[in-house]
């Protein structure tokens, strides 16, 4: 018995030693030491296809183009939902929002039993900070749980600015760095979100000459006056208003890009950029008249779900790499935890952005919350608001995007051939419809 016990102990000891070696070897292969710090900046409401570092023709993101050269760019990153709450739920928990009850018609906060990114990084020894210009990231929604410090920069109905956000974040990060404390900073910037009111210099650079001042003013105030109507497609969107909205939106992206660039350069000058994992990510996109309506929150078209995503790994590892395969916001958590040397909770964080590429299906599910439906019905009509009551689901495999809307025929788009999703090809590709339909979330 003693000999058997000793043999078992020896085997167990060798096994444990091997496991440690494998972990270290894997860590070494993955780039060495864990990231000391983590910074996540959310470009709220930023569409991937309006960012020049992802190929947009207008120079909206020159600073991110520079940063992309020392980062890994994910060219086909998708959100699971068309608004802030479900998308941040995925980002913070590594789970799809419908798996934790956050994609339904009731406004459900982050469930208390679900571990989230700040919880996990704090448990891994990071000081944690949340700076938010968006009130969906607040104690009311549970998304600030786990942060040591939460700094909302919105005041009443006035959203905070990236300039304010980044000043707070930089000063805190520099202080933690100086004190020798590893940190996790989260920042949510809302420049691309309505109101479309960019700084004057940026507006001047992007507004088309010849747009009437009244039209530009209407675009700036569209969220107050007509967004519920235009957002439902319940009234025609005039071409000049659509152009003004798009130009102001581009200017907002550019203004945010400038602030992100400044923040990164300050971190570089402060001597802690290279030991920080930097994630720049959008949470969802925006309708800009592509399909006849504006804003976000209800539909699951590509312009609402495809988001910018760029990761600068510590010491600029894998600099310049471009990943074309589909990735999801839910994959970000596992990537951060792995890089930070933090434990992933069982059942979550199993996927990372760089593993299993080519195998991913991006899923979406949404039903507008009751209050939004009632508001829309009051502002327009019951008939116009009726589509908001429907459940929408989507599945995307890198080429085909299947859209399933309750009580409507399935639609399929080949986004490689038709990135604007203008032509339904469901009848031409029944196999793709069947395959993706089987994967739709319930």
């Amino acid at each position: 018995v003693n000999a058997g016990t000793r043999r078992l102990a020896r085997i167990a000891g060798v096994g444990a030693a091997l496991a440690v070696c494998v972990v270290f070897a894997w860590r070494a292969a993955a780039g060495g030491r864990p990231a000391r710090n983590v910074l996540v900046v959310v470009m709220d409401t930023a569409r991937a296809d309006r960012c020049s570092f992802l190929g947009y023709g207008r120079p909206t993101t020159p600073r991110l183009e520079d940063l992309a050269r020392e980062s890994v760019v994910f060219e086909d990153a998708w959100s699971p939902g068309p608004w802030t709450l479900p998308s941040h739920a995925a980002l913070f928990t590594g789970q799809e929002p419908w798996e934790i009850g956050m994609a339904g018609r009731d406004l459900v906060p982050l469930p208390s039993g679900v571990p989230s990114l700040p919880d996990l990084l704090r448990a891994a020894g990071r000081a944690t900070l949340c700076v938010t210009a968006n009130a969906w990231i607040s104690p009311s929604t549970g998304l600030t749980r786990g942060f040591d410090r939460v700094v909302p920069t919105y005041r009443g109905a006035i959203p905070g600015t990236a300039s304010e956000n980044h000043e707070v974040a930089y000063r805190w990060m520099a202080g933690e760095h100086a004190a020798g404390r590893p940190f996790f900073a989260f920042v949510n910037d809302v420049e691309p979100h309505t109101p479309y009111d960019p700084p004057r210099d940026f507006a001047r650079s992007f507004l088309a000459p010849g747009l009437a001042p009244g039209v530009v003013q209407e675009a700036r105030l569209v969220h107050l006056r007509r967004s519920l109507v235009l957002g439902l497609g319940a009234a025609p969107l005039p071409d000049d208003l659509r152009r003004a909205i798009g130009d102001l939106y581009d200017a907002e992206i550019a203004a945010l890009d400038d602030e992100i660039g400044r923040l990164v350069e300050r971190m570089r000058a402060g001597g802690f950029l290279d030991e920080t994992l930097v994630v720049i990510v959008g949470d969802h996109g925006e309708g800009l008249g592509d399909h006849g309506w504006i804003e976000h929150g209800v539909r699951l078209d590509r312009e609402l779900l495809r988001v910018p995503l760029l990761v600068r790994f510590p010491r600029a590892r894998d600099a310049g790499r471009r990943v074309r395969e589909v990735v999801r916001l839910a994959d970000v958590l596992g990537t951060i935890l792995e890089e930070a040397g933090a434990d992933a909770p069982r059942g979550t964080g199993a996927t990372t952005l760089l593993r299993g590429l080519g195998e991913r299906i991006a899923l979406g599910r949404e039903r507008a919350f009751d209050e939004a439906v009632e508001n829309a019905a009051r502002a327009t009509s019951e008939a116009a608001a009726a589509p908001m009551r429907r459940v929408r689901r989507s599945a995307y495999d890198g080429r085909f995007h299947l859209l399933d809307e309750e009580d409507a025929p399935l639609r399929l788009f080949d986004v490689v051939a038709d990135p604007g999703e203008t032509r339904d090809v469901a009848a031409e590709h029944p196999d793709a419809v069947t395959r993706l339909h089987a994967l739709l979330p319930h």
Partner: protein
């Protein structure tokens, strides 16, 4: 989810957090915002009686009245059409929750709601 039931009465608290909202002067010295590190999460509280469902959203402060048995996609807010039922069920819910006015549940979230209105929500 917490459910309690009496004869013909059910209260559903879909999500509720514990703890008080704490707001402190900005400790970062930036002057760029306030600092809050804890707070109650919002909830949809509801009561069902006589085939009706009254619900109050503590985040938005808005109340709705529904036909309980209508399918979700056909659920319509009856608050404007049935003010007496609205008031009756509101009082029942207030009694069940032990609050003098449901508005006290909205108070911790008023600032959040105002900010969300600024972004075009609610």
């Amino acid at each position: 989810v917490r459910r309690s039931a009496r004869a013909g009465l059910a209260v559903c608290v879909l999500a509720a957090g514990a703890g008080a909202f704490l707001a402190a002067a900005d400790a970062l010295g930036s002057g760029a915002g306030r600092s809050a590190n804890a707070g109650a999460t919002a909830a949809v509280v509801a009561i069902e009686r006589d085939g009706l469902r009254y619900q109050y959203n503590t985040l938005t402060g808005r109340e709705c009245l529904y036909d309980r048995d209508s399918p979700p996609e056909e659920r319509r807010d009856l608050a404007a059409d049935r003010p007496l039922d609205l008031r009756r069920l509101r009082r029942l819910l207030e009694a069940e929750l032990g609050v003098p006015d449901l508005g006290v549940l909205h108070e911790p979230h008023r600032e959040t709601a105002d900010a969300l209105r600024g972004l075009g929500y609610l």
